[in-house]
């Protein structure tokens, strides 16, 4: 594959990492798996450490954990689920930090890979969210109530249900989890591709012309900053959409 006459690695090679342990088994470990384990350890470590530090004024790591909880509670749960959503704050906070830490490895030197650029966790979490919001819907509205509220939105002329109901069915039960997973995955794929493109450009142009590397290197730095924002934003979007779906299942009137 040639781009601008430079050798560019095949796209799949930017995302598929060779196994280094338990090769050939369903428990094969690769770089992506390691990053998920890092994200697991970082999230848990962050909260356990913050939970062990007492004091009137939160300092250091406590800021991150408590700020995260407040952020999820005020900016996500309060906006989408109201006071009833408070009990889901731990779930949504865990989700937010796990996605964020999986993403942020995109810009961590020498690792530089967003684990969510693989479909595994986005689709697994999206399916989990699908199960949860459907369960909440049935639990709060009853099976038929939930189906009725989901497929027959009030205020629509009856004749239009012929069109609206299939659309709602696809939207609520099929598209939602897919869009949730694909949005996160595609954003991280695109970000990683951008960074790799500018890095390969910089390296190759440095080898041949030196000066030519300035522009792509500047872009690389800019895009790295941008990807930090994207990592955060995608974690936020995934979490807030989860909260919106759960809130909709609890309060169908909204």
């Amino acid at each position: 594959m040639k781009i601008l006459a430079l050798e560019f690695p095949p796209v799949s090679h930017l995302f598929e990492w060779p196994d280094f342990a338990f090769e050939g088994t369903p428990l094969a470990m690769n770089k992506t798996v390691l990053i998920y384990l890092f994200a697991f350890a970082l999230t848990l470590g962050l909260f356990l450490l913050a939970g062990s530090k007492k004091g009137l004024v939160p300092r250091g790591i406590s800021h991150v954990a408590e700020g995260g909880i407040n952020f999820v509670e005020d900016s996500i749960v309060a906006q989408t689920m109201g006071p009833d959503g408070k009990k889901y704050v731990p779930f949504l906070t865990t989700m937010f930090f796990f996605i964020f830490f999986s993403n942020i490895f995109e810009v961590i030197p020498f690792i530089q890979f967003p684990a969510n650029a693989r479909m595994a966790v986005p689709i697994a979490m999206a399916l989990m969210v699908w199960v949860i919001y459907n369960f909440l819907g049935v639990k709060n509205q009853g099976f038929f109530g939930y189906i009725k509220n989901s497929l027959f939105p009030p205020g629509v002329p009856k004749a239009l249900y012929i069109i609206v109901t299939p659309i709602e069915f696809f939207s609520v039960f099929i598209i939602r989890p897919l869009s949730l997973a694909i949005r996160l995955w595609a954003n991280m794929v695109a970000g990683h591709l951008l960074l790799v493109t500018f890095a390969v450009l910089s390296a190759t142009l440095w080898d041949s012309t030196y000066v030519g590397a300035v522009a792509p290197a500047a872009m690389l730095i800019l895009m790295t900053g941008f990807e930090i924002l994207v990592s955060f934003l995608q974690a936020f979007i995934f979490t807030i959409l989860t909260a919106v779906y759960m809130g909709g299942a609890i309060h169908p009137e909204h």
Binding site: P9, P10, V11, S12, H13, L14, F15, P18, F22, P26, L27, A28, M29, N30, K31, T32, V33, Y36, L37, A39, T43, L44, F47, A50, G51, K54, L56, P58, S62, E66, I69, P90, T93, T94, M95, F98, S102, P109, Q112, F113, A115, R118, M119, A120, V121, A124, M125, M128, I182, V189, H192, L195, F198, A199, V200, S202, A217, L220, I221, T224
Partner: protein
């Protein structure tokens, strides 16, 4: 400070050069390595020998072998091992967070909120107490001020009364003194006039006696002269 700046610059430089550049090495394995592995694995199965490699059919087989390194499985289909590890990590993490991680932080936050709320309540209480004391002080101060004003007013009134008394007394004394002086003056004047009158009448009578001699007796002359002098005095 200087050392810190140098350290930070060096670190930033290292990250920029090696860190960001690391993306260039982002591929999991090189195309060449993959091709060699695939070639070694498939060359025997394809029953190719180094001699037959230039055949048209062999070229097709070889191309397929090398292309398989470029062709990738659909990136949107999740790998089962990654789903197990990643999904499993999330589920276990969620369980541990619900069990330990989250409640620990939440407890600290709640304790802090409670402490702050208690402190604020206490501060409010102290403030209202201080406010009450202040109001009391202000009331007492106002009382003291009005008492002082009353005392001053009373003193002023007393002074006014005293002053007017003294003034009246002084004025009446002055008037008395004036009257006394006038009476004294009148008395002195009358006494002087009487003296003068008798002196003058004696002198005049004496003079007239000598002038007129026997024409008039002394009593008639004195009456005439006195009448004359009174007439003159009243003018």
């Amino acid at each position: 400070m200087k050392k810190r700046i140098i350290f930070a610059s060096a670190l930033t430089g290292l990250i920029l050069v090696f860190g960001l550049g690391g993306n260039a090495l982002a591929s999991g394995e090189s195309l060449g390595k993959c091709s060699v592995i695939e070639y070694n694995e498939k060359i025997e199965a394809a029953e190719l020998t180094p001699q037959s490699l230039s055949d048209e059919a062999s070229i097709e087989v070889l191309a397929e072998i090398f292309d398989s390194c470029i062709e990738a499985p659909s990136p949107i289909i999740p790998e089962i091992n990654e789903v197990i590890w990643g999904g499993g990590a999330f589920v276990v993490l969620l369980a541990l967070m619900l069990w330990k991680g989250f409640p620990a932080v939440q407890k600290i936050m709640n304790e802090r909120s409670e402490k702050i709320a208690t402190d604020l309540d206490e501060a409010d209480k102290a403030k209202s107490e201080a406010q009450a004391v202040k109001t009391q002080y202000e009331a007492e101060l106002a009382d003291a001020k009005s008492a002082a004003a009353a005392v001053i007013e009373e003193a002023r009134q007393q002074a006014e009364v005293l002053r007017s008394d003294l003034q009246e007394r002084a004025e009446s004394e002055i008037a008395e003194m004036k009257e006394q002086a006038a009476a004294d003056i009148d008395a002195a004047r009358e006494r002087a006039m009487g003296d003068l009158q008798s002196e003058v009448s004696e002198i005049v009578v004496g003079a007239a006696e000598r002038v007129v001699e026997a024409n008039l007796d002394a009593q008639a002359q004195a009456r005439l002269i006195e009448n004359y002098i009174n007439q003159v005095g009243s003018n």
